[in-house]
């Protein structure tokens, strides 16, 4: 797979993977712990991600032409390496399935209450497969193109300032205490997942690796600010009590707006938001494909298989009463995979290079 992308494309690949379904419900979720300081939680989570990205950068700098799956194979040998890659693959498929379950639920709640869930799931996964099936260059083109919609989304969100705005809601800053804020950032962290795709896309960027850390950091900066902004407008737009009781405050805050030509801006916002949500699934399908294969034809077969798997798992998940236990388990384990494993690999890389040097001398 020699399809190469440029830096801008990498930037948007990361951003679009990160911004997805999580944001819509985020302000309500952190409300229970961080309360009026939720926005600080988001910034803290962004900082944590920045540290993880630093680890990624240090690791990837050592292997400039390998993606994560090649690195594991190279460092741990073909058997253990492939086993770890298979675990990654399973996680990516699960994350994609989990995201699409939430996505279907959201669409059912807000737009199409009577349409059977599996049809929506089929449409979403079908669309994602159509894009994920092609090579990374095409995927990146679409990601960059659809990023133009962020401008529209931000413009729509600015309209909310015409609601009653209570900046006093966030005062006094820092009242909830450090522990609660950290608790809130843990929740935020999991809705900001997606930066881990860096491990796979990084090696396909053309040109030298100088200044690439800036690109990754810029992506993280954008996402963090984007999240903080939306959490912030929800905080000042809703009373703290109401915020805790909503599922998707980011949509509710738009619901109240009314103009001469449109009502229900929330529906328009959601219609546009469908694209970032779908694109997130595309990115996970692509990464899942890359985690086990190297040739384009094998990749395509695997992507089709992953699509079927995502559909099956998504269907199963949507039948569950509550996603809570699944969610807890998934998050903890996933955190190990995307933060701890790369860190260990990086530390291990010192040993192996040291070992290799020792051998050669």
């Amino acid at each position: 797979m020699n399809s190469t992308i440029d830096r801008t494309q990498l930037l948007f690949l990361i951003i679009k993977t990160q911004i997805g379904i999580g944001l819509l419900s985020l302000p309500a979720e952190i409300q229970s712990s961080a309360k009026s300081d939720s926005w600080i939680s988001v910034l803290v989570a962004g900082t944590v991600i920045q540290f993880i990205l630093l680890v990624y950068w240090l690791l990837l700098r050592k292997f400039p032409n390998d993606n994560l799956s090649a690195i594991t194979v190279r460092m741990l040998g073909p058997y253990i390496g492939r086993a770890i890659n298979a675990v990654y693959y399973a996680f990516f498929v699960f994350i994609a399935a989990y995201a699409s379950t939430l996505y279907v639920e959201l669409v059912k709640n807000w737009m199409l209450p009577l349409t059977p869930g599996w049809i929506l799931l089929l449409l979403i996964i079908g669309t994602s497969l159509y894009l994920a099936y092609d090579n990374l260059r095409v995927i990146a083109r679409f990601f960059v193109l659809s990023s133009a919609l962020f401008i529209v989304l931000i413009m729509i969100s600015i309209l909310t300032f015409s609601n009653n705005v209570h900046v006093s809601n966030i005062m006094p800053i820092g009242q909830t205490g450090v522990l609660q804020i950290l608790n809130g950032s843990e929740k935020t962290f999991f809705s900001m997942l997606g930066f881990e795709v860096t491990l796979f896309y990084f090696s396909q960027v053309q040109g030298n690796r100088k200044g690439m850390f800036k690109v990754i950091s810029l992506a993280n900066l954008f996402v963090t600010l984007f999240y903080t902004y939306f959490v912030f407008i929800c905080l000042i737009g809703f009373s703290p009590d109401a915020l805790g009781h909503m599922n998707e405050p980011v949509l509710y805050i738009l619901k109240g707006l009314s103009y001469q030509l449109f009502d229900r801006i929330d529906l328009i916002f959601l219609t546009i938001w469908i694209i970032p949500m779908t694109v997130t699934i595309v990115s996970y399908l692509c990464v899942a494909g890359k985690s086990l294969t190297t040739s384009q034809s094998a990749y395509q077969k695997l992507v089709l298989f992953s699509g079927a798997a995502v559909f099956a798992i998504g269907w199963y998940l949507s039948k569950l009463e509550s996603l809570e236990p699944f969610n807890k388990w998934l998050e903890k384990a996933y955190f190990i995979m995307i933060a701890a494993v790369p860190l260990l690999l990086w530390l291990g890389s010192f040993l192996t290079t040291a070992g290799a040097k020792a051998e050669s001398t």
Partner: protein, 497 residues
């Protein structure tokens, strides 16, 4: 075009190898006659003294020139003229296949006693349409000439505008039975060699029996035959063709066709019109934006309307909702059917009117537009709002400068309408995503179709896409970029002294 069952004629290899027989003139003539299936417009003219004969296809030869350059000298000075002719002509052929080929191009063949080979004299007839403004690409301000059916005249139109030795022409003969002449034109050293090589490879690998039109070539060349979007641009305007040549694109003419095929082409080329460059840049930019809005309206508007009245009527404020719903009250059809019926009627009217002579087509317009339009609403088969929506959609699709593209858009509207009626806004979003993913996927000759947006190619490249920024702000060719040391000020190039 229907096909009758055809005979077993295959232009075989033996045909091509056959040589002119050694023998009397008569034998050779009959050989040529057999080669031409004893057609009756093959004229054989013998001279009194029997030393020579000429053979030609009556319909392809210009009699005046034949008379002036050959007959008159022959009759006046006989043998001497013949000898001179034989000595001076270099075109002597013995292969019957090649002789036939020349005769079909409008040559006359001279057979003499002494000379074994046939002497070829070029006296081609050609009837040409005069250079006219193309009907479907009219502009308000701009040149009013257009390509015609003769590639030589078309080349003249190009060369007249582009006096540059780098303009390169290549000829191909395609279609085993039709032997159609295909002309490929490009600017050497401006067109990417990779593109030219690829286009040449594809043209020469085309293996078909017949070739009638530019559309045939288009179909044989394009990479994504299942796509709705046209991947080559067909134009009859030389000014347009020249501007594409300068952008490094390739032009293909097919003899007998006034249309030039331009490739590789990108999506946004279909939204540019030569008029844009002849008006002031603000006006030009304004129309660019209007056209891009028309793209969105043409593919989405009926779908949005269907989605709103079927699923999301809460999107409309109560005032508008009331008037829409009232007009829908007595309509028995569901909105999707309404839209499909009206779109079909519209296409019917268009198809019916397009080929009729203009007085009749005006009647059709009146009957269609006014009578059916009002009657359908009064009979409460279709709602008022739907008429407005369909009307707007049709107008928007006709606003694209290239007609072919507008038709694609109307066809594209149908699946989006279906999706909207099944899944509301969600369906529209998914369909639009598929459309744009598709646009990002397709490439022509390896050039991304949706460039410069998918992939995004920097801000320099979009100056001529959404807007039509003034020429001094746009670096047109890559050569410009290298020399562009001078930075023009924001407000015009010439400063007040």
């Amino acid at each position: 075009m229907y096909r009758i069952k055809k005979g077993s004629y295959e232009p075989g290899k033996q045909d091509q190898a056959e040589e002119l027989a050694v023998g009397t003139i008569e034998q050779r003539i009959s050989q040529i006659q057999t080669y031409f299936s004893n057609t009756e417009d093959l004229i054989v003219q013998k001279f009194d003294n029997q030393i020579c004969s000429i053979v030609y296809v009556e319909s392809l030869v210009k009699h005046e020139s034949l008379q002036a350059y050959f007959m008159t000298p022959m009759l006046e000075s006989g043998d001497r003229a013949l000898e001179q002719l034989v000595r001076s002509t270099t075109a002597k052929l013995t292969n019957i296949y090649q002789i036939g080929k020349c005769m079909l191009e409008g040559c006359c063949v001279l057979l003499t006693e002494n000379e074994q080979a046939a002497i070829i004299i070029r006296v081609p007839q050609s009837y040409e349409r005069s250079i006219q403004e193309p009907k479907d690409e009219q502009v308000i301000k701009g040149p009013h000439d257009g390509f015609i059916e003769n590639p030589v005249t078309n080349l003249y139109l190009l060369r007249k505008r582009l006096r540059n030795p780098k303009l390169k022409v290549k000829y191909f003969t395609m279609g085993k039975l039709t032997n159609t002449k295909v002309t490929m034109v490009y600017m050497d050293q401006i067109a990417l060699p990779k593109l030219v090589a690829e286009a040449e490879k594809r043209l020469s690998s085309v293996d078909s029996d017949y070739l009638y039109s530019v559309g045939n070539i288009n179909e044989l060349l394009e990479e994504h035959p299942m796509s709705l979007f046209p991947q080559t641009l067909q134009t009859e305007r030389p000014d347009r063709a020249v501007s594409y040549l300068m952008e490094g694109k390739i032009i293909i003419f097919v003899a007998g066709n006034p249309r030039a095929l331009i490739l590789p082409i990108t999506f946004f080329a279909f939204y540019q019109s030569p008029d844009d460059y002849n008006t002031r840049w603000i006006i030009g930019s304004f129309y660019r934006i209007i056209r891009l809005i028309s793209f969105v309206i043409a593919i989405c508007l009926p779908a949005i309307y269907i989605a709103i009245v079927t699923y999301h009527s809460e999107v409309l404020p109560i005032g508008i909702l009331y008037s829409v719903k009232v007009s829908l009250t007595y309509v028995p059809l569901p909105p999707l059917l309404e839209a499909l019926v009206m779109q079909t009627i519209l296409e019917l009217l268009k198809e019916a009117a397009i080929r009729l002579p203009s007085p009749i087509s005006q009647t059709i317009g009146i009957v269609g537009g006014l009578v059916i339009g009002t009657a359908v609403v009064e009979a409460q088969l279709v709602s008022h709002t739907m008429i407005v929506v369909i009307g707007l959609t049709a107008i928007a699709s006709f606003a694209t400068p290239i007609n072919e593209f507008g038709t694609s858009l109307r066809v594209l509207g149908f699946p989006i309408m279906l999706a909207a009626s099944a899944f509301g806004f969600f369906g529209i979003a998914i369909m639009l995503m598929l459309v744009f993913i598709h646009l990002c996927k397709i490439e022509t000759l390896g050039i991304p179709y949706f460039a410069p947006f998918g992939p995004f190619e920097g801000k320099e490249s979009i100056k001529d896409i959404f807007l039509r920024l003034p020429l001094w702000m746009v670096t047109r060719t890559s050569r410009d970029k290298g020399q562009g040391g001078t930075k023009h000020s924001l407000f015009g190039r010439w400063k007040r002294p």
